[in-house]
């Protein structure tokens, strides 16, 4: 290996690199530095995906499989008068919300593994805002969500989704879904920081995921459900997201009220869960 020994003096052929800025004001981290740190951490997450393309499977394949399954298995039976196209139109806006949730789920296991490998100790012992590690994760998850939604809508259009030229409304629906999905990322992140193992994170995530997904208006209208279940679906944020997107993309049904509830849920969840998650991250031993 190297020929250096304990007694040789520093082999200072190397130029002194630009020394990092010393924190004058209490070591506080400015906004620009913060953005730079988040950028470096986003790059890390993106490189991880490049190294491990399988981790994008959920975003690329799940939308295709779910769309084909639901449209062709249930479409004919559930659609009014056996009309598969009508069911496709009903289903796709809600599926966007579901995708947001499914993508968000992966963050929990990822962060749990990071902690097991010790790389988090490195980050937490560095002069960066501890929130930047988590914010970078959220940013990456939002990108994955947008990719999943693009795949989903492409498949949707191929199997007969018709939004009759409401493109701007579609963008608004994507925006709403993404805001909501980002707030879910914080929840799954908190789970990942709280549970001991990645397996436990996955198990609990599914327990949360299933009732929310199916106890909502994502797959079928809630009209035929019994009262107690309807009471649940009415407050289920997924119902609001699905209804809002449907209103926007299909031009039927209320928009203002579900959209408002979506934003309230998203902002509320983020405001409550993000600080808890960041605090947990700070204190985790």
């Amino acid at each position: 290996m190297t020929t250096a020994t304990a007694t040789t003096k520093a082999p200072d052929s190397e130029p002194t690199p630009p020394s990092p800025k010393q924190g004058e004001d209490e070591g506080r981290i400015g906004l620009r530095a913060n953005l730079r740190h988040i950028g470096a951490l986003v790059r890390r997450n993106a490189l991880q995906i490049k190294q491990d393309p399988e981790s994008m499977m959920d975003a690329l394949l799940m939308p295709i499989i779910f769309t084909l399954l639901f449209v062709f298995v249930f479409g004919g039976a559930i659609g009014p008068g056996g009309d598969r196209d009508q069911y496709t139109n009903y289903l796709m806006p809600g599926m966007m919300a579901m995708m947001g949730m499914n993508i968000a789920m992966a963050v929990g296991t990822g962060i749990n593994e990071d902690f097991r490998k010790g790389v988090m100790d490195r980050f937490r012992s560095m002069p960066i805002a501890r929130s930047s590690v988590l914010i970078a994760k959220v940013a990456v998850e939002i990108c994955r969500m947008l990719i999943a939604i693009v795949v989903l809508l492409t498949v949707g259009f191929l199997v007969g989704l018709d939004i009759e030229g409401r493109w701007l409304e579609m963008l608004a629906a994507i925006g709403l879904t993404t805001i909501f999905g980002a707030s879910l990322v914080w929840i799954f992140m908190l789970l990942g920081l709280t549970m001991r193992t990645a397996q436990a994170v996955q198990g609990v995530s599914f327990l949360i995921l299933m009732p929310l997904q199916f106890g909502s208006s994502v797959f079928v209208p809630v009209g035929t459900m019994p009262g107690w279940l309807k009471a649940f679906t009415d407050v289920n944020p997924l119902t609001h997201v699905a209804d809002a997107s449907r209103g926007l993309m299909l031009g039927e049904g209320a928009i203002a009220s579900p959209a408002m509830w979506t934003v309230i849920w998203a902002v509320g969840l983020t405001a409550v869960v993000a600080p808890i998650a960041i605090n947990k991250f700070r204190k985790k031993t």
């Binding site: 290996m1 190297t2 690199p17 990092p20 730079r36 790059r43 012992s125 002069p127 031993t285």
Partner: protein, 338 residues
């Protein structure tokens, strides 16, 4: 119990007073005082679960102490964690680099997180890979690195920001001997460049190789401290093990050494189970004298080896408890003599 700055030069890079950290009923750190002078290597020696890692985690702002005070490079670990993080480097028990990223990408990322410009971070990453002989593996994901390469990358990562104080938490645990030597060479080089290092280890040999001062801790408390020669004197230091070709000659050999009238040789004992004669080593000259003497007297030797006290023996020596098997040996000797 605090060992004050006795040599009179250099300030303390690390100052710990009355540090306590309990986890439930476990007293991981139970009132530790510690000074590390600038530019020296403090070895913290102790068995698994002695509280070494907890100490390092407190000093690197990853864990808050229950009570007590600690300053590193002049910054309080509780009140000034942000400033402190700019001036320290940490290498954990496991390689704390991102396995999925290439070596270069890991170093570049850390450079950026330390506020280097893009160009500066790039240069620094190249430079550190070169220095740690990892240039060839720069583009490979860390997952494909050997254990030694990972530790080297980890060291490189810890040094990117020119830290004033470097923590090495069991840097060679789990490495094979060859790789361990590689890491030792790197640590020696880092030390020769004037860095202050706080090293934790389970191995007496590692502490002796790398540290100038030693603190022995057990169950969260300091049980001994001093420089390496001092501690070695206390625990008996190295021993020489001589294996005669004919094990029947063990006692004749002990007798010959004892009669030679040289310093320390009277302490020679025969270990019949192992088939060796054990001699405490006082000096290197003594080693030569023993070998010369045995040659003069015509003893045939099949093996000769020096032996460092194990951590167990160090603990036994410090806590004053005698190892039971030594008692057995003594009685055996008496029986033989009788």
């Amino acid at each position: 119990m605090t060992r004050q700055n006795t040599t009179g030069h250099g300030n303390n890079a690390v100052e710990v007073r009355g540090l306590v950290k309990h986890f439930g009923d476990t007293k991981a750190v139970d009132g530790i005082d510690l000074d590390v002078r600038e530019g020296t290597v403090m070895g913290v020696l102790g068995p698994n679960g002695a509280g070494k890692t907890t100490l390092v985690r407190i000093l690197s702002t990853l864990l808050l102490p229950d009570s007590g005070k600690a300053t590193v490079a002049g910054y309080d670990v509780v009140r000034q964690p942000r400033q402190l993080r700019r001036t320290m480097g940490l290498t954990g028990q496991y390689a704390s680099v991102d396995e999925k990223l290439a070596g270069w990408e890991n170093l570049y990322m850390i450079g950026r997180l330390l506020d280097f410009s893009r160009d500066g971070a790039r240069k620094r990453a190249d430079e550190m890979l070169e220095r740690f002989s990892l240039t060839d593996a720069a583009k490979k994901p860390v997952m494909q690195y050997s254990g030694g390469m990972r530790r080297r990358l980890d060291l490189a990562a810890s040094l990117i920001g020119h830290p004033k104080v470097l923590y090495l938490d069991e840097p060679t645990t789990g490495l094979d001997p060859r790789t361990r030597n590689e890491v030792w060479e790197e640590v020696k080089r880092i030390v020769s460049e004037g860095n202050t290092v706080l090293l934790t280890t389970q191995y007496m040999e590692e502490a002796e190789q790398l540290a100038t001062e030693l603190t022995v801790i057990d169950q969260g408390k300091i049980i001994a401290e001093g420089n390496v020669p001092e501690l070695k004197a206390k625990v008996g230091g190295r021993t020489l093990e001589i294996r005669p070709s004919d094990t029947g000659e063990l006692n004749r050999m002990v007798g010959a050494l004892a009669q030679a009238g040289l310093d320390g040789l009277a302490g020679a004992t025969a270990d019949e189970d192992k088939g060796v004669v054990t001699v405490p080593i006082i000096s290197d000259e003594q080693l030569t004298a023993v070998v010369g003497l045995l040659g003069e007297r015509g003893f045939a030797i099949s093996d000769i080896a020096t032996h460092l006290p194990s951590l167990d023996e160090v603990f036994l020596a410090i806590t004053g408890q005698k190892a039971t098997h030594q008692d057995d040996e003594e009685t055996k000797l008496k029986e033989v003599a009788a």
